[in-house]
Homo-oligomer: 174 residues x 3
């Protein structure tokens, strides 16, 4: 009998507790815990978060840093006994948009196709950014359009989707 | 026996999938499907959306464009076998605010009074815009205050209210 | 037998109807209704809101104004037959951040410790501000980080948490 792997999307606002919720999801399950940090090393908050993972939980987490080729790293880790936390999709979209010549929508399709058939369990963390006033800045508008489209695509193949506010989960799917 | 007409409010962020959800709601029901586009023709995205409706679904949708006198168009279409999609309230509020001498709150009251007693089924789509940082810009603050008040009023007379995130509906009422 | 006091957090966007929902929660219960306004008198909207409370409901509400020492006022009112509305936490955070030398996180801890063991019933109203685009402004980013952390802390000790949109409550906890 083949067990079905989980593909989870955890959405939430800034400081909503979404990463902590996602980390607990991963650590509450069986399997090897992998952490893919998509933030560039020059992002202080991400540096701090990775350092915190390294120091406190180095014995539990296998840590990977990948700002662009997220799907490639997921493919390399695609074993049924792996549980992979991707933190976070919004930083990955930012990196893609800043990468010269990157095919943003093409990268989304590749990720979604992988997520739909992955054998590893994957927990994606992402920021909901589309619930404020339309930004003046064109780049910010494109960013939130990209992020919104990616969320819809990942949610359509995910087995579970959670919306986190004030540290509390609201199950949207699953 | 008189059947009760549905009045539905579909809220969501940018690229949340709210319009697609609302379109499916309309097309899954019986009756003639009407689409009221409130965006000005100079809004590229709306032009594209209307063109897409015209080309792909011209045989299914009756398309109307009305940036200001939304309630008047709804009154003209107020037959029990009509299902009307209004896309979207936020653009309508924007147009009212830019219209010299317009009575924004008066227009809201007229719309809500019509919605409360309409014989046609109506599905309103609108952007939730009040969940970010308070905008610096006074016009933007007034806009989000207007939109928030309109949502409360429409929700109070609606038979169903949905909040959409990542393409997934959360039923708030109904 | 000791009855357990309620600690409620009511979150929502601008003009979401969160204050009205919270006021109804307080007035639907037994006990003396207290209203703590955290907004500075120079905030026109708060002035208006307090005046409205004073004029229309002066016979029902006991009104207190406290921009900074919120926990102190809550301690003074900590009787089991009191029901206290705090409107709102976001203005309190703003005031703390503008107060020279204030220990913002220390003030949060003191409030949360009080809330966890209070004998009075307390209903906190607060704005969800973290669901838009990352603000350009450093102060705004710090503000939304503070607010997000405070919401998580209050939610962890609250007996009930509601998220309000379009005047409709969504129960997140309780």
């Amino acid at each position: 009998m083949t067990s079905i792997s989980r593909c989870v999307l955890v959405l939430g606002g800034a400081r909503s507790g979404k990463s902590t919720f996602a980390e607990n999801l991963v650590l509450s399950g069986d399997g090897s815990a992998h952490y893919i940090a998509t933030g560039r090393a020059w992002d202080d908050e991400m540096k701090q978060r990775i350092a915190l993972h390294r120091e406190r939980r180095g014995d539990v987490w296998n840590i990977h840093e990948e700002p662009i080729d997220l799907t490639h790293v997921l493919q390399q880790l695609d074993q049924p006994d792996n549980v992979i936390l991707v933190d976070c999709l919004t930083l990955w979209v930012t990196n893609l948009m800043l990468e010269e010549g990157a095919d943003v929508e093409g990268a989304f399709s590749a990720l979604v196709q992988h997520a739909a058939k992955a054998r590893a369990n994957i927990v994606f963390v992402s920021n909901e950014v589309g619930l404020g006033i339309v930004p003046d800045n064109r780049m910010a508008r494109e960013f939130r359009d990209h992020v919104g489209r990616l969320h819809q695509q990942i949610a359509s193949v995910a087995s579970e989707v959670y919306f986190i506010a004030a540290g509390l989960p609201l199950k949207m799917k699953g």
